[in-house]
């Protein structure tokens, strides 16, 4: 029971306090690139959630099953990139064959995030903090949910930015970056909350 509460608190803190985008600045590339429309942002969020959750599990298994016994832990970054890339390819093929509807929904986003830093970051943080398998998967999933929430919020903001009458030098990316910074400042309010 205590473990369950711990996991839930850890997940909540991953979503809000340790938000990948607004407090750790991981995955900024898809965050800025695919947040034009809420629909594409949701697709990206789904794909990220899917991949991070699975890769958290796979990298944990590879780290403790292979790298630790072989005393190659200093090469974990390279190993994880390898594992994640292969895993995403495998998942893509599997989905295309057996779950074509999910494949259609995730579409082009799946291969796009193969080597995304948010995915790699989630795997590395899990190892750094020495989480158990269950914790790793739960935290990975929660971090991805945080990413999805952030990108969806931002897609909504950007939809309204299109109607904003901004000075010419601010139009386009500058305004997008400034608003991303403003939302990050709002999220920094969560950093006062400490669950542990």
């Amino acid at each position: 029971m205590e473990q369950l509460i711990n996991i839930l608190l850890l997940m909540l803190s991953s979503v809000l306090v340790q938000n990948f985008i607004f407090s750790k600045f991981y995955g900024i590339c898809p965050f800025l690139g695919v947040s034009d429309k809420p629909a594409t942002a949701a697709g990206m969020g789904m794909a990220v959630t899917f991949v991070i959750t699975l890769s958290s599990a796979a990298t944990w298994a590879v780290y403790y099953g292979l790298l630790v016994p072989l005393e190659l832990t200093f090469l974990k970054t390279i190993a994880f990139i390898l594992i994640i890339a292969a895993l995403v390819q495998l998942i893509e093929m599997f989905l295309k064959r057996y779950l074509p509807s999910l494949y259609q929904a995730l579409g082009i986003y799946l291969p796009l995030i193969t080597t995304n830093c948010a995915v790699l970051g989630a795997a590395l943080i899990n190892i750094q903090n020495g989480y158990s398998f269950l914790y790793s998967v739960a935290v990975g999933f929660a971090a991805a949910i945080g990413f999805t929430m952030a990108i969806l919020i931002f897609a909504g903001v950007r939809a309204r930015l299109q109607f904003a009458d901004a000075p010419k030098s601010f139009q386009g990316m500058p305004l997008v970056l400034i608003s991303a910074g403003l939302i990050a400042m709002a999220f920094s309010g969560f950093s006062g909350i400490n669950f542990f």
Partner: protein
């Protein structure tokens, strides 16, 4: 030695992963129907989405799976449909070429403005401000959001109304989706007449803000011999399957908002004289209404549809008198 060990380990891991992927690609291989790429080649390749699918290859997939007809492509026309039918080994249905038509003719000169709009030059943005600057809730906003999206540049904005140039339109229907007012309709390319209004308001209300608004007087339904015109929600609509191209409706319309495509009707479009006659008709109806308007208040709440045809014109005409009075203090 350590380096060699690490290298060997990673070579091993990579090899295992590579083998795994190679095997997986065999196991999970998806067989693609050879007809799909063939049909995709035959389709126009504009990826306009006019068929209702996400692009030409999606349409081809739908045709092969049976979800779409061989004549699904509105752009390719008969020749395209025949080619697809040949690939599929079936007979084609007939394709009706469609064109888009903006069902509004209330421009700057004849439709009232509600306010002076200053903001992004975009229909969807204007729509958010109380439904746009025109007083008519179903009038063309006229900022040309449809024109921007038209893949063939067939739409221009003239006098505050979007106008579709039929010769350039290939009926993909993108504009239909883009219009926030939903007043662009697809009609058969050969359609001889169309109703240039989408107002769902009662005639008395429509009359207050637009000179080119359908008032639901039903004169066209009466003059139409084939019964192709119906009036519902105070707006005339034409069933083109029944239309006989006689052009009488256009001649009769007291508001002159049934427009004739040049040379497509057996009867010539109303000359200035005819328009004047139409004006007289309105006057006559108005006179008529004044005499009959004993109890306009009771009929005001009755929907036009439920009123018998003979009296409905009188009632419709009677109400404006009433609303004009109501405006006075």
């Amino acid at each position: 030695m350590d380096i060699l060990f690490a290298l060997l380990c990673f070579a091993g891991i990579s090899m295992v992963l590579g083998l795994m992927l190679a095997v997986a690609s065999k196991i999970f291989a998806v067989k693609v129907d050879p007809r799909i790429p063939e049909i995709t080649d035959v389709l126009p390749g504009a990826n306009c989405g006019g068929c209702g699918f996400a692009g030409c290859s999606a349409c081809a997939e739908a045709i092969v799976s049976g979800a779409a007809k061989t004549a699904a492509c509105p752009v390719g026309g008969q020749s395209c449909a025949d080619a697809i039918a040949a690939i599929m080994g079936t007979q084609t249905g007939t394709v009706t070429r469609m064109r888009a038509q903006v069902m509004c003719s209330g421009g700057h000169d004849n439709a009232k403005q509600k306010y002076l709009y200053e903001g992004p030059h975009d229909c969807a943005a204007a729509m958010r401000l109380g439904g746009g600057p025109k007083e008519c809730p179903n009038g063309c906003i006229g900022f040309g959001s449809c024109a921007l999206l038209c893949p063939n540049h067939a739409i221009t904005v003239e006098n505050g109304i979007a106008v579709v140039h039929a010769d350039k339109c290939f009926g993909c229907g993108i504009c239909v989706e883009s219009c926030p007012k939903r007043i662009i309709k697809l009609i058969p390319f050969d359609a001889p007449v169309h109703v240039g209004c989408s107002s769902l308001d009662r005639g008395s209300i429509t009359r207050t803000y637009c000179e080119a608004g359908c008032i639901g007087c039903m004169l066209c339904t009466k003059v139409c011999e084939s019964g192709a015109i119906t009036v519902k929600d105070s707006i005339a609509s034409i069933n083109y399957d029944l239309c006989t191209h006689c052009g009488k409706c256009a001649e009769k319309c007291p508001r002159s908002i049934i427009f004739v495509e040049e040379g497509k009707c057996t009867v010539a479009p109303p000359a200035p004289q005819a328009a004047e006659d139409a004006q007289n008709v309105t006057e006559a109806i108005r006179e008529d209404a004044k005499q009959n308007a004993d109890a306009p208040l009771q009929t005001k709440d009755t929907p036009a549809d439920t009123v018998p045809q003979e009296s409905s014109t009188a009632n419709e005409e009677a109400v404006p008198e009433n609303t004009e009075n109501a405006d006075l203090p």
